[in-house]
């Protein structure tokens, strides 16, 4: 065991050395299609990445998720192709997208914006969508200003090799009804995709953004999303990860929610051989609220890890977390929900629930709530359950004439609906699409 741990750390360190060589070569011969304004940021981020390094085997935050394969695939792909690949093969993926009416669709392939596959970005009073590759100097200033100050190692890696991204800026009082659907495609080339999305919701503004990942083959994605919700704003944010079963996918979302604002997040992981998602929400102003919902479904030897951290900084802030996992075969899931109630955050109300359905005896879930509380006047509740399919419900359905296999699928789907229903009210088409995606996988899982 000890040898394994040393091996992991040695291999990660070797990967880092390779990545450093790639970065230095890029520095010496700067590529034309990387925006010049990103260059100082990239260099700073690389220094951060170099110093922090990949997580060690003993790192508590990475206890159940081994990033060695991510580190090695990153090194291999970056050596092979240090820049995002740009050939034009990704059209096929688009036929499989939900038919949501009137959405604004922005497509990225291997991390680069593809205007030819995207809705034409029209100048709109109050809604500004800017691919990093086309940002003018004032927008680039705003983008840089908005980025998280203290990046973790994965955010640093993303920034260090950042070539493109999307800035969504919603002006004060603007209510954007149309869903903004950002599709990140990895088309199967050996490319270390570093998707980047920054979302800025102005005072009293509303918006709905879908961050959607799809891929084929052994893709590699390290996504970063930074979100700012100004006072009295509302954002519905859907993260839908439906990459291939061979993909490695890591994602970070860093969210700041100001006074009287509501941030709602729905995170769905149906894909990935290895998926790790870190969602960090700072409730910065009084009455700020965060509703976080999540669902994952995995089989085979796949692995999904959800790490959530909510910081209640201000009084009368509210957070609600409801995450559900469905696991079969020898799949492994992790749920880590950390709630920190800081001094002065009186009247905080924090609820956390994690429920898991294990469809085989060898599937495994590690669920861990963590509460750190530095004030007295709060309401906090957390619960986690792990169980199998309800045999009484199975018999009820079969006694009505539902074949056993269908009854299992029906109950698994039912378990997921509580999360999908949160989408239904906002966008029935996307909820239907999710059910369709789920139904495709159910025969292999239930």
């Amino acid at each position: 065991m000890k040898k394994n741990i040393q091996d992991r750390d040695t291999r990660s360190a070797a990967a880092l050395t390779t990545i450093e060589a790639v970065f230095k070569k890029l520095q010496a011969e700067p590529a034309a299609d990387i925006p010049a304004w990103l260059q100082p940021t990239r260099e700073k981020a690389f220094a951060n990445f170099r110093e922090t390094g990949f997580p060690r085997a003993k790192d508590e935050d990475w206890k159940y998720t081994n990033l060695t394969s991510f580190a090695e695939r990153s090194a291999a792909y970056l050596s092979n192709q240090p820049l995002a690949a740009t050939n034009k093969t990704a059209g096929n993926f688009l036929t499989d997208l939900p038919e949501t009416e009137n959405e604004i669709r922005i497509v990225f392939v291997n991390g680069l914006h593809r205007p030819d596959l995207s809705t034409a970005i029209k100048p709109d009073s109050g809604l500004k969508l800017t691919p990093y590759s086309t940002a003018d100097s004032s927008t680039s200033e705003e983008i840089l200003h908005q980025q998280p100050a203290d990046p973790n190692v994965l955010i640093a890696l993303n920034t260090a090799f950042l070539a493109d991204g999307l800035a969504v800026q919603v002006a004060n009082d603007k209510k954007v009804e149309t869903p903004i659907h950002v599709v990140f495609i990895s088309d199967g080339q050996p490319c270390a995709t570093q998707p980047r999305l920054s979302i800025d919701i102005g005072f009293n503004a509303h918006a709905f953004v879908i961050q959607h990942h799809i891929s084929t083959g052994e893709s590699l994605t390290n996504a970063v999303t930074s979100i700012n919700c100004a006072e009295q704003s509302q954002l519905l944010f859907v993260r839908l990860q439906n990459e291939s079963d061979e993909s490695i996918h890591v994602a970070n979302q860093v969210v700041r929610v100001a006074t009287d604002s509501l941030f709602t997040s729905i995170g769905i992981d149906f894909g990935g051989q290895l998926a790790r998602n870190d969602l960090a929400v700072d409730l910065c102003g009084e009455q700020a609220r965060a509703n976080l919902y999540g669902l994952f479904m995995i089989n085979g030897q796949r692995h999904v890890d959800n790490h959530l951290q909510i910081d209640h900084h201000a009084a009368h802030t509210t957070s609600q977390e409801n995450y559900r996992g469905i696991l079969s075969d020898t799949a492994r899931g992790v749920f880590n929900g950390k709630i920190i109630v800081h001094a002065g955050a009186d009247g905080t109300d924090a609820q956390m629930s994690n429920r898991n359905l294990l469809l085989s005896e060898r599937a495994e879930i590690n669920t861990k709530p963590e509460l750190e509380i530095y004030t007295d006047d709060i309401k906090c509740a957390h619960g986690a359950t792990t169980g199998q399919l309800d045999m009484h419900a199975m018999f009820y359905l079969r006694a009505r004439g539902i074949p056993e296999a269908s009854a299992r699928m029906m109950l698994v789907s039912a378990f997921a609906q509580e999360i999908i229903d949160h989408l239904r009210s906002a966008t029935p088409a996307l909820a239907d699409y999710l059910n369709l995606q789920m139904n495709k996988q159910l025969p292999d899982i239930a």
Binding site: D390, M391, H392, A393, F395, Y396, L397, R398, A399, R400, G401, I402, P403, E404, S406, A407, M410, L411, S413, A414, F415, A416, Q417, E418
Partner: protein, 251 residues
């Protein structure tokens, strides 16, 4: 229609049914009464194919097929319906969807085409009206948040839609107030027909005030110990079970 011959069944190594014989003809309504723990619910569950019971002896034929060899869903496709004593809540499974899937599975088993969607909707609306259920119930999850009475009405509603050959109703009357009891009884009566049989398991006589049985059986100690016409139910209500038990043991 149903022939039970010398049925022995155990649950968790406890013998519950000990040589039960029962024959139900087509179009007949049979009531099974008996003291607590006599095996009434076990009989209903064994007939429907629930896990957790072991049949150690005897046989059951239903419409000339060996019932005990079939999976629960196959029994449903052959025409068995079990009305549950405690209908289960299934959040996330839509009532209407369940019935449509159940009907289509049965159609498929019999090599018939899928049911017509418009026709199906008409049927479920009619049957919901029969059971005085609001249309909104149809689109809710199965029994989720239903009151006790609503759950039992939903059982009879499902039976009305599925149109079984043999309906086994396990203490459908328990927990019902008098208004709900009348609705449930009316629903059952509406389904009585010359090619449909009923096996009504009940603890009390009062359901039989509304549904007139052809035959009443007393089940005790895992066997049918006495059978008679509807007057037997009235006598049991007036005198309890002790006299039947004494009569049998002295016989």
């Amino acid at each position: 229609m149903l022939n039970i011959d010398n049925l022995h069944a155990t649950a968790a190594d406890t013998k519950i049914l000990k040589g039960l014989n029962l024959s139900i003809g087509t179009g007949e309504v049979h009531a099974i009464m008996g003291p607590n723990g006599s095996g009434k619910s076990t009989l209903a569950h064994v007939l429907a194919g629930r896990d957790g019971y072991e049949v150690t002896d005897g046989s059951v034929t239903f419409l000339d097929s060996e019932l005990l060899d079939m999976l629960p869903e196959e029994r449903a496709w052959h025409g068995i319906f079990l009305g549950f004593q405690y209908p289960i809540e299934i959040p996330g499974v839509n009532n209407t969807y369940l019935l449509k899937a159940a009907l289509n599975a049965r159609q498929k088993f019999h090599g018939e085409p899928e049911i017509d969607a418009a026709q199906f909707l008409r049927v479920i609306k009619d049957k919901a009206r029969l059971m005085q259920m609001e249309q909104s119930f149809l689109n809710r999850s199965v029994n989720e948040g239903f009151s006790g009475g609503e759950k039992k009405r939903n059982e009879i509603f499902q039976m009305a839609v599925l149109e079984p050959r043999l309906a086994i109703l396990d203490e459908t009357d328990s927990g019902l107030d008098i208004d709900a009891l009348k609705i449930v009884a009316a629903g059952i009566n509406a389904l009585r027909s010359e090619d449909r049989s009923f096996l009504i398991v009940t603890h009390y006589q009062r359901l039989l005030d509304y549904i007139e049985p052809d035959v009443v059986h007393v089940l005790a100690g895992g066997q049918i110990i006495k059978s008679g016409d509807k007057s037997l139910a009235l006598e049991l209500e007036a005198r309890g079970y002790d006299w039947v038990l004494e009569e049998t043991s002295s016989a």
